[in-house]
Amino acid sequence: MKSRVVITGVGAVTPLGVGAATLHSRWAAGECGIEDGAARCDEFEPTEFMSAKEARRSDRFAQLAVAACAEAMEDAGWSDGLPYDGDEVGCVIGTGVGGLDSLERQHDVLRDRGAKAVSPLSVPLLMGNAASAQLAMRHGFRGQTYGVVSACAAGAHAIGSAMRMIEQGEAAAAVTGGAESAITPLAEAAFRSMGAISESGVCRPFDRRRDGFVMGEGAGVLILEDADAARRRGAEPVAELIGYGATSDAFHLTAPDPDGDGAARAIELALADAQVGAGEVSYVNAHGTSTPLNDRSETVALKTALGDEAGRVPVSSTKSAIGHLLGAAGAVEAIATAFTLRERLIAPTLGYGEPDEGLDLDYVPEGSRALGNGNGNGMLGTRAVAISNSFGFGGHNAVLCLRSA
């Protein structure tokens, strides 16, 4: 029988500030971290979390992961030492593009000063697995550690992979999440060139006026533990991770399948894995990028997967408050979902004002509201269930299902 998995600690650095609780409380209060068409972590100061030397040897995406991990470990009660043998602890951190800023800088060095001037730190700075490598070295996670790359679904895939690792008995615990810092001139130009970035600089998911996503940066880290082991050491779970589903559209390089078939299957798989029905779902944390295509196909997918329940379930997008954290999005949004369950408070889709034809779910436009318990017919008692959707360019779909602890 597979092990149950609980989330015992969370940490986040987002455009709403440093701290996971800050993310949810400020979002729920209607605050937005987007400024001038981008969502940066302006409050983040790397040397508050690491030495100047360590900061020099890390790309910003890995620095953000180090800070989020420190908070998650403190939250889990791991600060004074791992509660498990390091061999029993895995680490899986997703990213969209890794150390893109470092790569661009070193390319400038190569062009301007020649090959001999390229930094020996280039590869460890830019490699996509840099965040998981840094965390493993820093804290002695000696189990399976690697990065996950699936564009904007990477954070959710990482969490799903870490969850499976524990379920299969390959680790007692895993540190997982996603990190991204790719608001560089090249990335901005590239996303703009493909028409993905909002020209208005406003993220308004599911609204008729939506015109693309807003680039964001940040990191989210979660501590996952085998539920029995966590209980034995007296840990208080933040939430339980009960389901994971991942599929591919196999449809187009960047556009989601308009029928939402791959996304719907991922949602259905996550619910089946969690052994819950659509009637028990109390909340959907949407991928909700604010691109015309995503929000429409995601709506279709939710209708397919949740059936008659789709119209009842509140659906909101964290990206309306922090922009699109790309490979970190799935992790930060899973954390926001965990807080939604723990605080029993659903934060709204900010900026939503004008309905679009066919996009007729409950997008929580008016402001925060209390979390209900599914359709009221479930057997859950006071424990609520939510899902968090993540879909990446390339047609990668990953859905997580969480239950309140």
């Binding site: 360590e54 930094s119 020996p120």
Partner: protein, 81 residues
């Protein structure tokens, strides 16, 4: 133009570079790279700084056996001679 190589100029540049790189503890001639937590990647960066500043080329074989900052300074001065 490269800076003239003297023991003083090399010492001053290497000390500053090591501090910039975030070396642990006080940088002196006697300090070992191990004490300063300077590893092989840092030594390659140091060699790049030396070449930029003094036009003295240090290869991987030159720097891999260096133990102290003083040895590095003397090596640069000797190579320039």
């Amino acid at each position: 133009m490269a800076t003239a190589v003297t023991t003083e100029s090399v010492e001053s540049k290497l000390f500053a570079a090591l501090k910039e790189m975030g070396a642990e503890g006080e940088v002196t001639r006697e300090a070992t790279f191990e004490q300063l937590d300077v590893d092989s990647l840092d030594l390659v960066e140091l060699a790049q700084v030396v070449e930029d500043e003094f036009g003295v080329e240090l290869g991987g074989d030159d720097v891999k056996d260096l133990q102290t900052v003083g040895e590095a300074v003397d090596l640069v001065v000797a190579k320039a001679a």
